[in-house]
Structures are given as structure tokens and as C-alpha cells.
């Protein structure tokens, strides 16, 4: 890749996807979304970030139901979901695939409806993950008219590409391919059909200004909650003073 880490590229893409959201909730094992939020904060955006399961402190005082109540109230603008499988209709499977058991649906069956936007994020981009039809729908990508649904998928970001969700067509559209990958490779590795314009852009890499923030204040903000991640991404490059704390 270029003069930046893959994690830095992905965090930059997520930061652009978050855009002007007011409140983002980031789950436990999500260092890259957390990095994206820290990047926006470092840029001076007035973004509220609720990091779930921080090592010290946490944003909640009503126990583990508060995240779901917040979302029910309409106070979560952006949430993230992964998936053992994701299909072309943006259905998410966190339960089982090909005889293998995964942890379970967590709160996906609610959060996918209640958060205003959900960014699907899975680094592995393969036909094993991106399937024509999920084996088990933990949370559906869309709902019939008459069924309450505040929000749904915004985009699907993988280690190779960015897809935008088209609610009207209930299909993904390939938005950009990351530097180092190609449209052909993306087609080969995607198990579902998707729309695609006549030309496909390359995903914009992080700017020099963004990289400076990422390697300075962002790295220092991320290190306490994700020490292994911060060490891997930044310690070998330009070690921020607190990354090893």
C-alpha cells in the first residue's frame, strides 16, 4: 500500500461516511471505527462518540440497556455492524454459517432499525463473507412498508472496496475500490451481485493533514482503549508518546 497503513485508509473512509452525524456509538472490538471518530474529533468536529465497553469509565449509567434505549429514542445517528455473512440485500448474519457457530446476533436485530444509519464494516472481502443470501438473518437490510424502521444500511466497507446502499433498489452500488485492489478482484471476491457505474473511482487515501492527525492526537486517544491496535498501526511508524501507555 501507500505511505499509510490500511487501517488509516479505512478510518479515513469511515470518517467521511460519518460526515456530520451528531452521535456515533462504537462497539467493543472496533478500533478502526473508533479511530475514525477520533479523527473527526481531532479535526474539531462536534461529534459525540459513545465508546461501549471502554476499559476505564463508560458513557452510560443505566447499565447495558442504555445503548438500546438511546437508539430507541432516536439519539444514535451512526452505528456499526459486521457479520459472519453479509448478503446483497444487506442482510446480516451473526449466528451460523457453513456448519460453524458464531457468537450470536447481539443487539443487531434492534440497532439496525433504530440507529439512523448503520455502516456495515468487515475487513475480510471474500465470497465466504459476502454471500448471495445469508444462512440466517440476524438483522434484515430492509423492511416492508408499514413496518417501523427509523434507519438502515448506509454503506458496506471492506478491506478492498466501498459499496453504497441504494434503499430504493435494495442493492449495493460499488462506490470505490481501495488502492491496491481492482474492480476485477472485487468482482471475484464478492458473492452477491451489485450495481456498478461505467467507471469506478479509487478510494481516496487519507490526506497529509489527516495522516498527521492520525499519527498524533488520534493515536494518543486510541491507545488506552486499543493498545495492541495502536502499537501495530503506529508504533512502527512515528510513535506517539502515549501509544504504549
Amino acid at each position: 500500500m501507500g505511505p499509510y497503513a490500511r487501517e488509516e485508509l479505512l478510518a479515513g473512509v469511515i470518517a467521511r461516511l460519518i460526515g456530520d452525524a451528531a452521535h456515533v456509538a462504537v462497539g467493543a472490538a472496533s478500533p478502526i471505527p473508533a479511530t475514525a471518530c477520533a479523527l473527526l474529533a481531532a479535526r474539531g468536529d462536534k461529534l459525540r462518540v459513545s465508546l461501549l465497553h471502554k476499559r476505564k469509565g463508560n458513557p452510560f449509567s443505566e447499565g447495558s440497556r442504555e445503548l438500546f434505549d438511546l437508539a430507541g429514542q432516536g439519539r444514535i445517528d451512526v452505528f456499526f455492524l459486521g457479520g459472519a455473512q453479509i448478503d446483497g440485500e444487506a442482510n446480516v448474519n451473526l449466528v451460523r454459517a457453513e456448519g460453524r457457530r458464531f457468537p450470536g446476533s447481539f443487539g443487531s436485530a434492534f440497532m439496525y432499525f433504530a440507529a439512523r444509519r448503520t455502516i456495515l464494516f468487515r475487513e475480510e472481502h471474500s465470497r465466504r463473507v459476502l454471500v448471495p443470501k445469508v444462512e440466517f438473518v440476524s438483522a434484515p437490510g430492509s423492511s416492508p412498508p408499514g413496518v417501523w424502521r427509523r434507519g438502515g444500511p448506509q454503506a458496506l466497507l471492506t478491506g478492498k472496496a466501498l459499496f453504497a446502499w441504494q434503499p430504493g433498489r435494495r442493492r449495493f452500488r460499488l462506490e470505490s475500490v481501495h488502492p491496491g485492489s481492482s474492480l476485477e478482484e472485487v468482482r471475484d471476491c464478492t458473492g452477491f451481485e451489485f450495481d456498478c457505474g461505467p467507471t469506478v473511482a479509487a478510494t481516496a487515501p487519507p490526506s497529509a493533514a489527516e495522516l498527521e492527525l492520525l499519527r498524533g492526537p488520534v493515536a494518543r486517544a486510541i491507545a488506552p482503549n486499543y493498545p495492541a491496535f495502536a502499537a501495530k498501526v503506529w508504533l512502527s511508524r512515528s510513535p506517539p508518546s502515549a501509544a504504549s501507555a
Binding site: R55, G72, P103, G107, F110, M111, A114, G146
Partner: protein
Amino acid sequence: MDALPANATRFLADAEALAAQIPDGAQIALPPDYSLPAMAVVRALVRRRAKRLRLLGVPVLGMCADLLIGAGCVAEVETSAVSLGEAGLAPRFTEAAEKGELALREATCPMIHSGLQAAEKGVPFMPLRGVLGSDLVAQRSDWKVIDNPMENRGQTTISQKSWSDPDFSDPIILAPAISPDVALFHARWADRAGNVWLGRRRELATIAHAAKAAFVSYESMREGDMLEDEILAPGVLGSVYVSALAPAPRGAWPLGVADEYPIDDAHLMAYAKAAKTREGFRRYLDEWVLTPEKNFSPA
């Protein structure tokens, strides 16, 4: 287990004594690994060879459940996930689920919270938005779907038909009340009045309110009645909900208690690795659970 113990918080000697209160076959509500799990009592349940336990994850489960499943104590699991977090999949749960050795009642976090809150309020159900269209719904015959009665003046129909029928009008799912036989968790402090301090882990209070009995291990005894202390009171679960208490210093280990000790990540990683095989899990049990002197971390 029918009578609610209103005036009888019992002070027991240790985790073994608490484990002895929990009968085989009981439905036990357990917190996530990050929320004061009573690991010392869980180990004592393994030692007393508890059988046919039905675990309820509030709303997810971790090492706590994996130990009990691996040791053959568990018949059924209702939860929205089982995971060791940073340490990966819960290996004994995963193998048991893949081999079909467990009755699994798949859920999603807020359905469990809402079911417990229904029991907390003494109502038979609580409605929840979302969830419709998840394959979870078809698996759970105890989850009902109705037309939103606040919007519909005429008849409202219980879902015999599919909720996605176009004549379904603003369908909404109902979580049935969940009243577990036992709530089991750890507390930072207890006092002589039988109150316990849970801090911001309010899901534990909800479990105790909803459950028929609550068994609580604690780090240390604190002087005075914590409910009379305005600073501590917001984090207290009152003794009216506490059936029995026992001291268990470092009782959450290898998991953590905020401000007391952190999660023992290295131990959790070692467990995750060992428990990948039945033999490795057996060795772990022998070394860390069945050997009395190693019941909890020496640190």
C-alpha cells in the same frame, strides 16, 4: 423457589455455600463478563457438579457460561451472544452449539432487557420496536407480534399470519416477561443490612428485581447502611432483593471489578487457547477450578 424472600437476606460463609443454594435445573440469569460475574460461585457450581442449568445471558455471555457449558452443567442457553470478547469465540459454547448438545434460545439484546423489565414491573410482556424480519422471530414461538394497539381502533390480531402481510398495520413485537429462578452476580461491597453495591451495572439490579431469588458474592463488607448514604445509594441494590450473600474476595477473577482489579487478559487468552479442545479444557478445570487452593488468583 416460589416465595419471594422479603425479609431474610442470609449471610453465608463462602462461594461454595452460595452454589449449594442453586438447585440443578434452575434458570440462572448471568451478566456479561464485563459486568461483575460471580466467577468464584461459577467455579463452585462446577465443583458441586451442578446439572441441567438453564443459563440466561443478560444480554450476552462469556467465560462464565463457557466454563459451565464445558463442565457439563448446562442444558439450555438463552442469550443474544456468547463470546470471550478480545479473546475470541467461547470455545466450549461453540463446540456444544455446533454439535447440537445445547438447547439454544437465540435472542437479541433488547428483547432480553425488555423481558426482564416486564418481570420487574409485574406485567406479562413489553413491546419492542425492530426485530421483525430477523430469523430470530420464527424460532421464538414465545415472541408474539401484534398490530400496534395505540394506532388501531378496531380489531387487532395476533400473528397467525406473517407480520409482513400487507394488511398488518404497524406490527410490533412483544417480549414475554422473563422471571429467572436465580440471579447470580458479584458485588464490590455488601453491608450488614444485606444491601450490595453494583455501581453503574444497573442490569444487575434489573436481573435481581425480575428473578425469584438473587445470590450475590461480594469483594468486601462495608460499614454502615449504604442505602442511608446519598453518594453510595444510587449504586446500591437493596437487601429486599437479595436472598443470600457470601464473601468472595477477588470473586470475579479472572474478570474484573472496576477500581478493584482489571480483567486478567493473559489468563483469559490462556483459557481461550486451552479450551479449544476438550482435553485442554479438562486440564484447565483440573488446574484452576477443581484444585481448591487455586480457586482464585493469588495476586
